[in-house]
Amino acid sequence: MRNLKKPFLLFIQILLIALAAGAAGASEITVIATVDKNEATLDDYIILKISVQGTREEPALPALPDFRIQSRGSSSQFRIINGQMSSAVEYNYILYPQKAGTFTIGPFAVKHKGSKVKSKPITVKISKTTPQAKQSEDIFVVAEVDNENPYHYEEIIYRFKFYRRVKVANARLTESPAFEGFLTEDLGKEKEYQKVINGQTYLVTELRQALFPTKTGVLKIEPSTLQCDVVVKKRGRRRGFFDDPFFDDSFFGFSETVPKILRTSPITVMVKTLPTAGKPAGFKNLVGEFSLNGKLSTRKLEVGESVTLTLTLAGIGNLKNQQTLDIQGLQNFKVYDDKPVFETQLKGGKVGGKLVLKKALVPLTEGQLQIPPVTVSYFNPSSGSYTSLKAGPYLLDVVPSSDDEKFQVVESVKKSGIKQEVKILGHDILPVHTSLEALSARRLRPLSLTAALFFLLPVIGFVCTFSIKRSRERLEQDRGLIRFKQAHKRFSKALPLIKSALTQDDPLFYQRASKALKDFIGDKLNIAGSALTPKELERRLPEYNVPAETVKAVTDILEFFDSGQFGFTKHSVEEREAVFKSMKKMINSLNRKIKRK
């Protein structure tokens, strides 16, 4: 532990001394501005480096209206030389010259403790681009148009060419012109070819765009900027065996890449207005060279049938300006336009195309009908004059319709052809409901007694049905119970027969009445009724809680019937009637009193 303590203290001492020296050095603020070159052309750019030492304040850039400035970031350096510590921050900028002439850049100032520290100003000379200068370079870009003085809407071709005779990598367009005041049309993929300039073979990559000026006067096409890495051989290295282009790749370490920014010159286009003299009526700014063809599907048809007129407008120029072709002065026909078909085509390096329009014509009358000619006017920039194209006229032989149905078919097509999408013109709510029906409140209220009853009714119905069914089943299963339940019913059935024998001096009365009484009691007590004797009744009935007087009455009636049946005594009709009535009463009484055990 002691061994380590000494070197640690020594390190701390050295660090303190260094920091003190650094603090002393930091009080000196310097601002140094440098450029990579003092002479450049409009196609070049200048790299400006501002090195600020002693502070991390960023220098304020003065207004440089003659240059477009692009920041390239900053880098920091920290040095200790002879115990003197210094820190510096280097700010990098790229200046793109906008004008030719001699310009002063700077001074650049940094604020420090209330005072300003300035750099020395730099003078740079910007000259116009000379083609010779360009062509003496290994790598350069050129932007051009094939016609700097076109007519309004005349097609011009913009070409961006990238020339190189060294190896490059990562080439990319970082800035492209906005083509303000032009309609643009892409002319496909870039072309790559070789070109010899001053005996030097260059590989050229060319990008093309068709431009249609939509304004007249002076239009400016801004510069395009291309960034790439140029592969250069490392100096002072003898490669010997490796002296082969294959090893030029920086991967092998025999070459290195240098980033390069290339910029084209701006292009000024002077757009001429189209001459007013001789401008045809209905001219739709069609500029170029075009042809017009018309074709009729048939020359003879019936009224109501349709004929198709196909019009093809083809050529080089701004064909998209012409969306429709009208037949002026067409009478006795209904016209239904099909959707125009536009096809872009490239002819001789220029953009053009073909517009195909189909019109369905339905003759409304019969006879010899004429379709007037279709005319299209365009301005030909090469001749500087207007030209009118004509298709037609066409003669049609229209005969009367042989079938009315055919006309109907055409009519139905017509109806579907004119359908349009419903356009929403406004938003609002739908109106109030005004019917007095709104006030009627006749509806089932779910939380009401009615609903509860509706809910319970089928349940009650089911329960009732179930209980009735169950009781019937029980009855069917229990013979004694059936006899008990049906005793009174059977007795009631026997009454008319007894009654019929009552008035006659018929022993059947006694027999039937005795049997009915015994059967009733037998059914009630679930025993054989016919064998019942008064003595047995006296013994059994009290077991069923039948009062003694009722038992006596029963036995008396039974003895009355027995005496009459077996001829011991004769009874008058009145007596028999009285007994019959008292028997009925007694049976009703017994029916209530005898409970089943």
């Binding site: 609002d428 109030v432 409901h433 089932l444 209220r445 779910p446 509706f454 089928p458 009650i460």
Partner: protein, 263 residues
């Protein structure tokens, strides 16, 4: 014999009660003539006197005519008076009673489109509502009627099954059990939502949702008129709300209203 008599007596009693209940209006409408008020309110609405229309429609509703059309008209009048929250409240009430009304759905969609707060709802409930179409397309009374009919048929089939024990009857019985339970549960949920709703709506133009039930609590977020929420809890003039995206907070009770029918 006695049981049969009892059944018959019950049946007739029920029948008489039903007749008495069903053939009378749901509630007496008070002393003011609702028809007269209704016509006057409609005229006021047509003449763009929306305040009068609102007052009269409210009077009709307060008289006990709990009717979808009245709430719909009331919603329209409120919407025309730029009271979006109240308009939506009444449209929602109307939707409980006349859910299939095309005009109502159109105006409700229009009013919903005017709300300012965009809240992304989570959970399965919206999807489930789409699946249970009968729940959203029928009102509580219609659902209850369907349930009662299904209940009636079910008990009828159960009664038939006592005498006619065939497999097909058993299958029908099980199907009927399913639908009866489904409709019964739907009716119960609908009724619960209708009369004991936990849904609320913002009726104030812009309201502060705070972390607690005091004016000194932190404002968590703001809500605007017409925004729906779940009514969680009430305490001392404050309501705890829950938005369907999970945000919670407390708002003053006077700037919100519960979407509930009072029958």
């Amino acid at each position: 014999m006695k049981k049969r008599l009892l059944s018959l007596t019950l049946f007739f009693t029920c029948g008489c009660l039903l007749l008495q209940h069903n053939c009378l209006p749901a509630r007496e409408t008070g002393s003011a003539d609702p028809s007269h008020l209704f016509i006057e309110a409609n005229d006021a609405y047509r003449q763009a006197d929306y305040q009068t229309a609102i007052r009269q429609y409210e009077q009709i509703a307060a008289a006990g005519i709990s009717n979808g059309e009245i709430f719909y008209n009331l919603g329209n009048a409120y919407l025309k008076s730029d009271k979006l929250g109240k308009a939506l409240l009444n449209y929602f009430k109307a939707e409980m009673l006349i859910p299939r009304d095309g005009d109502l759905q159109s105006n409700l969609a229009y009013a919903r489109g005017l709300t300012r707060d965009k809240i992304e709802c989570r959970g399965l409930v919206p999807a489930l509502m789409n699946f249970c179409f009968w729940y959203s397309k029928l009102n509580a009374a219609e659902l209850a009627t369907c349930f009662l009919i299904m209940n009636f048929v079910f008990w009828g089939v159960l009664t038939v099954r006592m005498f006619y024990k065939r497999e097909i009857v058993t299958v029908i019985m099980y199907i009927l059990i399913f639908f009866t339970i489904l409709l019964g549960a739907s009716t119960a949920v609908k009724l619960y939502n209708q009369y004991f709703s936990q849904r609320g709506i913002v009726t104030g133009t812009e309201i502060m949702v705070r972390s607690g039930n005091s004016i000194n609590d932190t404002v968590l977020f703001k809500l605007h008129e017409g925004t729906e929420f779940s009514w969680q809890q009430e305490n001392d003039g404050w309501v705890k709300i829950l938005l369907c995206d999970g945000k919670k907070g407390w708002v003053q009770k006077q700037v919100v209203e519960k979407i509930v029918l009072t029958d």
